[in-house]
Amino acid sequence: MALGATKKDRIDALAKSSVDDSGVSLAASAWRRLRRNPVFLVGLGITLLFVLVAAISPLIAPHDPSARDLIDQVVKARNEIPPAQPGHPLGGDLQGRDFFSRLLVGSQQTLMVGVLATLFGLTGGLVLGTLAGAIGGWVDSLVMRIVDVMLSIPSLLLAFSIGALFAHPNQFTVIIAVATVQIPIFARLLRGSMLAQRGSDHVLAARSLGVKPGQIVFRHMVPNSLGPVIVQSTLVLATSIIDAAALSFLGLGNPNDAIPEWGQMLGTSQEVLDSHPALSFWPAACIIIVALGFTLMGESLRDALDPKNRR
């Protein structure tokens, strides 16, 4: 079980799984066990379905998600919104827009938030982590000191603090805020993986053949870190979507809701939960299912890559 008690332990344990000395290809042995793991398959199924819906949602959405088709059924004075009706299976939202279409199309932005936040976090972490791990010395000490301090601020609070730096929040600033929190995690993960590989046979072989240090890092060490990075990325996909919703809830999210996003739909509909629970329930259900899918996939991948289980 690569489940350490502290955030740092967990990252470090995951980093160590990039060193393999069993002689069997890591990907092959992991896949052999994953193929028959129902938890992984459920997670994969949810993820594939989510990506598929996001890809084709503009085609299958019955209405334009930003068109106020049902605006005449919105009665502000009596706090009424359009009920479910033929052609509008979930009714309309507070602005009279078809809610079902907004949910479908919302998957696109949600996927984008997750993927971009993960990519930004990974890129930042890759730069810092390889820098620290490859150069070592005072660069390593400095980078890791800052990384550890960032890890010592509760991550959601860090995301809020970064979100508050922008005078005019939008979808992009939300992604930046959620991604920055992930940078120290990826940095520590990649550095740990580099250190773990430093003494391993394939690096030693490359070095004795006279391969340049830069090439060893990028051709041999970084590719071997791929396993732990994939695990962490799947988990980050889940947390970034949830964190983005929390930012919206605190008013640090994207105020422009012409293009729907689940986190934004959930965060902003909390105020009317008492009178219109469905407006919160559906985006919440979507987020929970998708986050669960990513988490199931990530956790079973983590188990599959864990050297302890690779017997």
């Binding site: 079980m1 489940l3 350490g4 008690a5 502290t6 955030k7 000191r145 800052i146 550890d148 301090v149 960032m150 010592s152 601020i153 509760p154 991550s155 959601l156 609070l157 809020f160 603090s161 979100g163 508050a164 730096l165 922008f166 005078a167 889940a238 949830i242 919703a245 929390a246 809830f249 605190l250 008013g251 640090l252 959930l266 965060g267 909390q270 939960l273 008492d274 629970p277 919160s280 919440a284 987020i287 929970i288 986050a291 669960l292 988490t295 199931l296 956790e299």
Partner: protein
């Protein structure tokens, strides 16, 4: 042990210094610069000038940082301009902190009381339906946005069923204040209805706040017990015929609890982030609500103090956990 403690304390000082650098940089990066951020938009030119001089913004950057550090060390973080206008940020923190501690303690109690036994039972029944159901349940617990869970609890139990109060810390208005912990106050002064009332106000927010720590404690307990059950000394204990109860208490739980203790400590330290969301939903007047309002109203004097305090609490808890760990585990003590 003493050398270890001193080394960890020195490390903590370094961490806090880097942290102050980060908060200082954060303050400089705020929209409109620190003056607009700290004074708000309706500031007069005179007050702007006063603050520029007071903060030393006309001086070199390292002087500015030293001044910032000086103010931080003396607890002078300025006056709130959004959450409770007129109150100093420090006073605001001090009056609200007991509420958050009380809430956090209840949340952690919930997490521990349910997390450890369920984690142990799941590990003993590895692969069975109980194990699978609780593991998936804990993953769902992590996937549910905290603020939505809080709203859901409030909607069902306070709005629809009306069995529990939906906001604030206490409905009884004439309760005597002693410690700032309302349940404890009621018990000390023997005002039982005040204590009971404060307790009822804590139930829903504590459940919402405790869900994620519960899920984490559950999973760590399960993983740790699984690890220990595999150990030779447990097999030895079984084969020499010790009773199941004795094996559980002396061999399994005592060893498996080490990572669990760490987890509980760290989760407690990190609760403040969840409290921002939970306290906001239940209008619970703690530090978390102040942070949520601070973000909403851009009350930067309050935010800089509270963010700093949140990180400090986390760092200190981290240190205490590591030290207690060294006390429990002789292997670390001798290192």
């Amino acid at each position: 042990m003493l050398r270890y403690t001193v080394r960890r304390l020195l490390q903590m000082v370094v961490v806090l210094l880097v942290l102050s650098l980060l908060v200082f940089a954060w303050l400089r990066a705020l929209p409109g610069g620190p003056v607009s951020a700290l004074l708000g938009e309706r500031a007069t030119p005179e007050s702007r000038h006063d603050l520029i001089v007071q903060l030393g913004l006309d001086q070199p950057i390292f002087v500015q940082y030293l001044k910032f550090l000086g103010r931080a060390l003396t607890g002078n973080f300025g006056t709130s301009n959004g959450v409770q206008p007129g109150t100093t940020a420090m006073d605001l923190f001090l009056t609200r902190f007991p509420a958050t501690i009380e809430l956090s303690v209840f949340a952690i109690i919930i997490a521990v009381v349910f997390g450890i036994p369920l984690g142990y039972m799941a590990a003993k029944r590895r692969g069975g339906w109980f194990d699978n159901a609780t593991v998936i349940g804990s993953l769902v617990g992590i996937a549910v946005p905290v603020f939505f869970l809080a709203f859901l609890l409030k909607y069902i139990f306070a709005v629809k069923l009306g069995v529990l109060p939906s906001d604030s810390r206490q409905s009884v208005t004439d309760a005597t204040r002693v410690t700032g912990f309302f349940v404890l106050d009621g018990i000390i002064t023997q005002e039982w209805d005040a204590a009971w009332d404060a307790f009822r106000h804590l139930i829903l927010p504590a459940i919402a706040l405790g869900t994620i720590p519960f899920a984490v404690v559950f999973r760590i307990t399960r993983a740790a017990v699984l690890d220990v059950l595999d150990e030779d000394y447990v097999r030895t204990a079984e084969s020499k015929g010790l009773t199941a109860q004795l094996i559980r208490r002396r061999h399994v739980l005592r060893n498996a609890m080490l990572p669990v203790v760490t987890t509980i400590g760290l989760q407690t330290g990190a609760l403040l982030a969840g409290a921002v969301l939970t306290e906001n939903v239940f209008a619970f007047p703690g530090v978390g609500q102040a942070l949520a309002l601070g973000f909403e109203r851009r009350d930067y004097p309050v935010l800089q103090l509270l963010i700093m305090m949140a990180a400090m609490v986390y760092v200190v808890v981290n240190l205490l956990v590591d030290l207690s760990y060294a006390l429990i585990d002789p292997r670390i003590r001798t290192r």
